[in-house]
């Protein structure tokens, strides 16, 4: 397995508060690696550090062999509420990264057409983000990131704000697009079920301080995403295992295992 991201003994502190302590993790090329944990475990902070939006207090994070020092177009980021540029139409949103690189209009349109088709937003090119639904907006953001040609896609609870049906539809869509593009995905969620549907591997986080309790190889345990059947007994067993692992850290919060 080739390593895309190597997290080397990373600690993150905000003042006196230790957000993450001694994180060691390797994320493989082409996998969907899920960071699963209750809120406040630092999983989003870790994702932001991989993006280069925050820097570790101790330790370092490597992308291939390069230490990450800031944001880069090679690591796309999808925010929880679907950050977009509301003054741009869907098409102009998707073009954004290509425009930054100074690619000419013809070429931009050509690339965008491909990704608009991939995420299934044909016919909505000239709509503004406010005119489309939340699920479509996240597809638009995904297309924006994909069109920019990143090596890795970082997703911070991207489907958290969607209703249950749209959410499970988006999970299937993500898997379909992932299979087509073969990108490395780091995915943050607090939903065990979501983690089990989409992940190649899952790292379970505990809180106070935020740390990785265990990393599960889902492909080995319950088969690859494509052939996975969550009604199988081995899947139920794994779900129970994940649940008991997380349970002590749920606190007052509703862990939303669904």
């Amino acid at each position: 397995m080739k390593v895309a991201i190597k997290i080397d003994n990373v600690t993150k502190k905000f003042g006196d508060f230790t957000c993450l302590e001694s994180i060691n993790l390797e994320i493989f090329k082409g996998e969907i690696h899920t960071l699963l944990g209750p809120s406040g475990c630092g999983k989003t902070t870790l994702l932001r550090m991989i993006a280069g939006l925050e820097s570790p207090t101790e330790g370092k994070i490597l992308n291939n062999t390069q230490v990450i020092t800031g944001p880069s177009a090679s690591r796309g980021f999808i925010f929880q509420h679907g950050a977009a540029f509301p003054w741009r139409t869907v098409l102009k949103n998707i073009e954004f990264g290509l425009e930054l690189k100074g690619i000419d209009k013809e070429k931009r349109r050509e690339i965008c057409r491909k990704y608009i088709k991939l995420v299934g937003l044909e016919g909505f090119e000239n709509y503004y983000p406010h005119q489309i639904s939340g699920g479509m907006r996240q597809k638009m953001v995904l297309a924006t990131v994909l069109a920019n040609g990143p090596e890795i896609i970082l997703m911070d609870e991207p489907f958290g704000a969607l209703d249950a049906q749209t959410r499970s539809y988006m999970q299937r869509e993500l898997l379909r697009i992932w299979e087509e593009t073969q990108k490395t995905v780091v995915f943050v969620t607090h939903s065990i079920r979501e983690a089990m549907v989409i992940s190649s591997r899952v790292s379970v986080f505990g809180t106070r301080p935020g740390r990785i309790l265990h990393t599960y190889d889902l492909n080995r345990r319950i088969g690859s995403q494509k052939h996975r059947d969550l009604s199988e007994e081995r899947a139920s067993r794994l779900e129970y295992e994940l649940y008991t692992k997380l349970q002590p850290f749920m606190g007052h919060e509703n862990g939303e295992a669904g």
Binding site: S72, F77, F85, R88, E99, L100, F124, Q131
Partner: protein
């Protein structure tokens, strides 16, 4: 027709309030009633015409200063409504334009950099409460009577609303949008031009529109004291002649021209910032 379920017909809900004729008339009804009342009261002869001229007299006076060349009354009163109006519009546009040129970049800098804001804010906050009109004496000493003084006063009036709204607009840029742009590979410069400015533009335009209104308020006062042309000068001069009809006519002109320009700005905003509104389609 609107839904009428559970509604009792009375004088306020009666069907004639929903007739198309009334709907068309509705925005003008009160103004029309006011004008008719004015005309009636002025015709009764309770007040002498120099206190309250008839509305029709005011209109006649306006039209005669539009068309008629009357050598007896001299320059400001005859056929010169348009030059006076154009002078005022020109001063408003120059002063307001200068206000935009200075306030927008300054506002972007102050909204973008906490440091610059901390440095510049004390001066801004110290000058801001001084009414623009209080600057007139100083403006006359600095620039003499005429164009420069009035434009300076208009500039002061327009400057602050534009500045404050620009700062507000830049500060309220969605931080996530900036981070999203960073992760797509945007440089600081690209973030400024492709994220911060477009996102702050509606707020900048609001400032420009408010600045336009204030520019009109200040230009009239400035022209009364510091100019030889313009609508402010025209009505101030008419006072010496006790030409009340022209004073009121000038006031109406000021109101109509300034509201037209502000409305034009609003239409432009609606056009440019379509992206702010909209409805959800599809799922």
């Amino acid at each position: 027709m609107e839904e009428e379920v559970g509604k009792v017909e009375n004088i306020f809900t009666a069907h004639y309030w929903r007739l198309p004729f009334w709907r068309l008339l509705r925005p003008y009804a009160v103004i029309l009633a006011f004008i008719i009342l004015w005309e009636l009261v002025a015709s009764m002869g309770i007040f002498p015409p120099y206190i309250l001229p008839k509305f029709s007299t005011v209109m006649k006076s306006l039209f005669s200063s539009l068309y008629v060349e009357n050598p007896q009354t001299g320059f400001p009163f005859s056929g010169d409504l348009i030059p006076h109006t154009l002078w005022s519009i020109w001063r408003v546009l120059v002063g307001w334009g200068l206000g935009i040129l200075l306030a927008v970049p300054l506002g972007v800098i102050m909204g973008w950099s906490k440091n610059m804001e901390a440095v510049l804010n004390p001066l801004i906050e110290a000058v801001r409460p001084i009414p623009p009109l209080a600057w007139i004496p100083l403006a006359v000493i600095w620039f003499g009577l005429g164009f420069t003084s009035t434009v300076f006063i208009v500039f002061l009036g327009a400057f602050f609303p534009i500045l404050l709204n620009t700062i507000h607009g830049v500060k309220s840029v969605d931080k996530t949008a900036i981070e999203f742009a960073q992760t797509l590979g945007a440089s600081q410069r690209q973030i400024l031009y492709k994220v911060v400015l477009p996102s702050a533009l509606p707020s900048i335009f609001t400032g420009m529109r408010i600045g336009m209104g204030i520019a009109w308020m200040t230009v009239v006062a400035a022209e009364m004291i510091a100019a030889k042309y313009g609508l402010g000068y025209m009505i101030w001069f008419a006072r010496h002649q006790f030409d009340t009809a022209l004073i009121i006519g000038g006031m109406i002109t000021i109101g109509v021209v300034s509201i037209s320009m502000v409305t034009l700005m609003m239409k432009l905003e609606d056009r440019l910032f379509k992206w702010r509104k909209g409805m959800v389609v599809g799922g």
